[in-house]
Amino acid sequence: MKNVDSKSHVRGESVYLDDVPLLQGTLFACVYDSPIAHGKLKNVDISEAEKADGVVRVITAKDLIGENQIGGILPDEPLLADEEVHFCGMPVALVLAETEEQAHAAAKLIKAEIDPLEIVTDEREAQAKNELIAPPKHFRLGDAEKAFATCEHVFEGRADVNGQEHLYIETQGAYTIPTEQGGLKIYSSTQGPTAVQRAVSRVTAIPMHQIEVDVTRLGGGFGGKEDQANAWSALCAVATQLTKKPVKYALHRMEDMRMTGKRHPYSADYRIGLDKDLKIVAYQAKFYQNAGAACDLSLPVLERTLFHCTNSYFIPNVSATAYSCKTNLPPNTAFRGFGGPQGMFVIESAIAHAAEKLGVSKNEIQRKNLIRSGDEFPYGQIAESEAEASWTQADQQYDFAKLQAEADEFNTQNKFVKKGIALMPICFGISFTKTPMNQARSLVHVYTDGSVAVSTGAVEMGQGVNTKIAQVAAKIFSQPIERIKVHTTNTLRIANTSPTAASAAADLNGRATQMACETILERLKAVAQEMLKDGAYRVESSNGNAAGKPSEGGTQSGVSFENGFVFYNGEPTSLDWLLVVNEAYNSRVNLSEHAHYATQGINFDWSIAKGHPFAYHVYGTAIVGVTVDCLRGIYEVDYVKCCHDFGTSMNTSVDFGQIEGGIVQGLGWMTMEEVFYDSDGRLRSNALSTYKIPDVYSVPKEIAILPLETSRENLAVFNSKAVGEPPLMYGIGAYFAIREAVKAFNKQNFVKFDAPFTPEKVLMNLYSEISG
């Protein structure tokens, strides 16, 4: 089953924000953003811009009718800078002009007078100055302090991991249209239509029921359009409110890169203690998260770092502390994995450190400590583990021992080319860690021609959620997928949605759709039952004899739909879907349903930092192999071979695509993708020419995917498992594989844990005694 959008995609007929036909009189917006990372905003001179060709109006903070605030979690993020600027790229003014070109030209004429204040870009420096978004968070299991005293081996060190630009190929944008009686219709490229609606309501003081947000699809999101899509809609909405004109803003790539936040960079201190059998007895970690200038989603991201700080290992004594540090960078935000990957990088670094000092291979320590069913995570949830299963299946299927032996042999034969291999197990919890967000609704209409329209709160952004939802409806109604249309995500049809995030959209919205469809199906079965009863429709038994009409009082469960036909007690009848649907309509039976789903059995109590936050975990293990050219300091990824826990995949082509895409994105983060701010807080990697994401030549030569064999039940739709985020974390293996290869060349050098492993760092480490 292919993605339901793929035909219109390849023909260029799918609609994205910039393709929405424009109404006459549409104005084009352009932001003037702060050129200074921190300072007092003394004056904004818009006089020249106002006089420029085609300019209709220039908006600054004082023009807002509602509140100048878009912070979703904490109210610390003004829409337009008012008294202070907090990062380079912070919106200061909005130009509206008759053409896009005029808007851009006029924005260049604005001058801001800013008295500079001290600029902090480093998270540790911010923490030292007590510049925190919120008080630190802690996770505790057992007694780490005491346990360290009993350890045979204790190692401590530091790990740094940089951010990552989302680089959705479609940039952010919004198009707002005034509707009658002071309302607004908003097209937005957002993962969170309700978040946009809320933000718009706040800045315009227009109540939410007057604001319609509509999302057809995104040209990629990856978390970058979860909260960070709000500002652009809010700006356009304010502009529409003030001018009564439709207003459009599709950001240029460089505007997008410089004004929006990214994956959070982290710095961390770790301490790891092992017993003589290489069991990890104690682990302590301090995480310094670079939150940027405002909270955005930094706190839940920080929490997920803690949730995943022990990855797929069981460690009986854990003490982890995390600081969300406020700096003068654009507010960092959600990105596939949501803080989890950073937590995993640190524990993997700690294990690599221990292995190197003990002279054992890293995978020996990894394997000995995999979490088992019944073990407790540091946050209190009891594991139902597939960690060993996925490790063993990967190990055996791909013959790790042979791969390692081949690499070792290669390394003895070659001086200037080295191979490195790493194993990367993952364990990722599924559910929003904020329990109330684990709810979804679906609205299903069956029309009298038999076709079906579905609306949910999920946003399609390439992850195939619409395809899966259509499959749910098609399966339950036993209709071909062509009869199902999953419509735009719209706040009038589905209210109070959770953002499409946390890999949970298909789970939650799929379950809601399942419920809605089943409810309608039950009604249709009852109708069919009645229709069969009056004898007008034959029931054909498999031996060819008419089985007659159902007896009085026969149970409804005798009726089922298969391939568009009604079956009675497993026997085909001459009654079909369309007839039943029409009879239902004529009998005034409801052919629509709006269902609500809330994940059961999850909870979390932050006062004790314990609970059962996840519906289930996704496990997997990857083997990553790389080759490093030690003359030039460049590398290739030879393979990523994984055993991944899909549950029962609903759609293998969609799910395999998510795995391949996630792996490559994770590799990019660990290798070539280098977000680079200078000490003035200016983004230097501010375009595709200076920020490199993987191209067709930098992906692994081979990606092998082995579905984990398991029969465990879980809470997701049709026993499938969420697949969006977890595979990204296989990419972390590439860092450690490169590290192995570098070590094979330069044995004296202890490679610092500092991702990404750019060609520069590779070369400097290969020749560290010469360069150092």
Binding site: K2, N3, D5, S6, K7, H9, V10, R11, G12, S14, Y16, D18, H104, H166, L167, Y168, I169, E170, R217, G219, G220, R253, K415, F416, M461, G462, Q463, L631, R632, G633, I634, S653, F656, G657, E660, G661, I663, V664, Q665, M672, R684, A687, L688, S689, T690, K692, P694, D695, V696, Y697, S698, V699, I703, T758, P759, E760, L763, M764, I770, S771
Partner: protein, 473 residues
């Protein structure tokens, strides 16, 4: 008036000639299939096909429409996805392949890939797996991880190679890669060009004497990245399509090239393939297919970026450039004397490069480049070398390096030093010492100064490893 064929429609436009083809098709012609990802030539979402008559032949190449002024579309066939879509709503083999392999997720990059692969199916390169992947080297996808797109590309080799005995375009029509109307594009373009020819002859195409500082425009791949807004209205002299500047000649002593030769022309040149055995491997390191189709040599030289690859290449050939002006007065200058300081050139504003030439008398050539991403990236450091060996002795050497100085750098002292030396680990080490005195790298987003120094040392060494399998231990 600019006149060309857009898909199946002849268009004329009086829009400013610097308007990009991207804006023209999306916002003036409402063809929304072509997407915008960067407006910098770096993502390929805006990839189109450009068909051009070269003599008797109609040849298609991919270009990034975001960097292409409509003036460079004049007299050509511009094809967007709407121009290859089947009327019956069905899919072409390229589109089917992308669907079948799940090569599309969010879909935003997809049309660019479809266009690149369509071009692969209609151009006359051999239909190898390598060429299929190479065709999409300018397309970036953030969703799929490329593996599915790779499978789509490889699955097309068979279809693409299927020949119906006809010219490429007829095979492509037969294979349903492109619609029927492609069959008479050649004739339609000839008509446009013939009418053009008369106009061109009747008007004086030289810049008018009153206009100062004419700026020259070739492929636009630097100008449209650096000053996109200004370029729309800039009054430029367009050199890209000047047939007089687009040739590769071989004489007994020299290779001579027109200034508007693009990198792809080198790749497709028999002479270059003979002189540079690793041509493909090396030129693959320069930008991407669509950019190489637009990027001229003169543009690279005049842009004067310290990390210009073709500049490094031709410096190491000790090339000369011919400068001309509107009055057709010409002078010749060694390329190594062209660079005076950061973006300062030994050239009057009204002079343009008309010709490039270099001696054929080298026996060895190598090019090295390292960047964050091996392909479609700007070098952290690049370097090229040409050597004339007689036996084991270097008769003469020319070495260049980029990314280590304010200008593209010809390493004079190093080149001089190598003369008369034998290749040995010691020679290489000594030359490396000299190189370190000739460079002064600046730290930037492409690397720290120490890294660039170390990297050039390594890459200089790599020249000898590549050329002589030198023992460098």
């Amino acid at each position: 008036m600019i006149k060309f064929i857009l898909n199946n429609q002849s268009v004329e436009t009086a829009l400013p000639k610097g308007t990009t083809v991207l804006d023209f098709v999306r916002y003036h012609k409402n063809l929304k299939g072509t997407k915008i990802g960067c407006r910098e030539g770096d993502c390929g979402a805006c990839t189109i096909l450009v068909g051009e008559l070269a003599g008797e032949k109609l040849k298609y190449r991919t270009m990034t429409s975001c960097l292409m002024p409509i003036s460079n579309a004049d007299g050509k066939h511009i094809v967007t996805v709407e121009g290859i879509n089947r009327d019956d709503g069905g899919l072409t083999p390229v589109q089917s392949a992308m669907v079948e392999t799940s090569g599309t997720q969010c879909g935003f990059c997809t049309v660019g890939f479809v266009m690149s692969l369509t071009n692969f199916c209609i151009d006359d390169t051999p239909k190898t797996n390598e060429a299929a992947i190479s065709a999409i080297d300018g397309n970036i996808c953030r969703c799929t991880g490329y593996k599915s797109i790779e499978r789509a590309a490889l699955s097309l080799c068979g279809t693409a190679a299927r020949r119906n005995g006809d010219a490429e375009i007829h095979s492509a029509i037969g294979n349903e890669i492109v619609p029927e109307y492609f069959a008479n594009i050649k004739e339609r373009l000839s008509e446009i060009l013939n009418s053009r020819f008369q106009i061109a002859n009747s008007s004086n195409r030289n810049p008018e004497p009153g206009i100062q500082n004419p700026k020259f425009l070739s492929g636009g791949t630097d100008l449209y990245v650096q000053r996109p807004e200004e370029m729309v209205y800039a009054d430029t002299e367009n050199l890209f399509d000047s047939a007089a500047l687009r040739f590769i000649n071989e004489t007994d002593e020299f290779i001579e090239l027109g200034a508007s030769v693009v990198v792809t022309d080198l790749l497709e040149s028999d002479v270059f393939n003979r002189l540079f055995p690793n041509l493909y491997k090396h030129l693959k390191l320069v930008s991407s297919t669509p950019i190489r189709n637009m990027a001229t040599l003169a543009g690279n030289f005049v842009n004067a970026s310290p990390i210009g690859d073709m500049t490094a290449w031709f410096l190491a050939l000790d090339a000369e450039i011919e400068l001309s002006d509107a009055r057709s007065s010409t002078r010749t200058l060694p390329l190594k004397d062209f660079y005076l300081g950061y973006k300062q050139l030994a050239k009057r504003e009204d002079e343009f490069i008309s010709k490039i030439r270099f001696r054929k008398d080298f026996t060895h050539f190598n090019f090295e480049k390292v960047c964050k991403r091996t392909y479609l990236d700007i070098a952290s450091v690049n370097t090229a070398i040409s050597l004339k060996m007689s036996g084991d002795v270097i008769e003469h050497a020319h070495v260049s390096a980029g990314g280590v100085f304010a200008t593209p750098l010809y390493l004079r002292k190093t080149s001089e030093f190598l003369k008369g030396k034998e290749i040995s680990a010691e020679t290489i080490a000594q030359a490396n010492e000299i190189i370190q005195t000739e460079i002064s790298p600046i730290p930037d987003v492409r690397g720290s100064a120490e890294y660039k120094r170390l990297l050039l040392r390594q890459l200089f060494t790599a020249h000898f490893v590549e050329l002589f399998k030198a023992n460098i231990q």
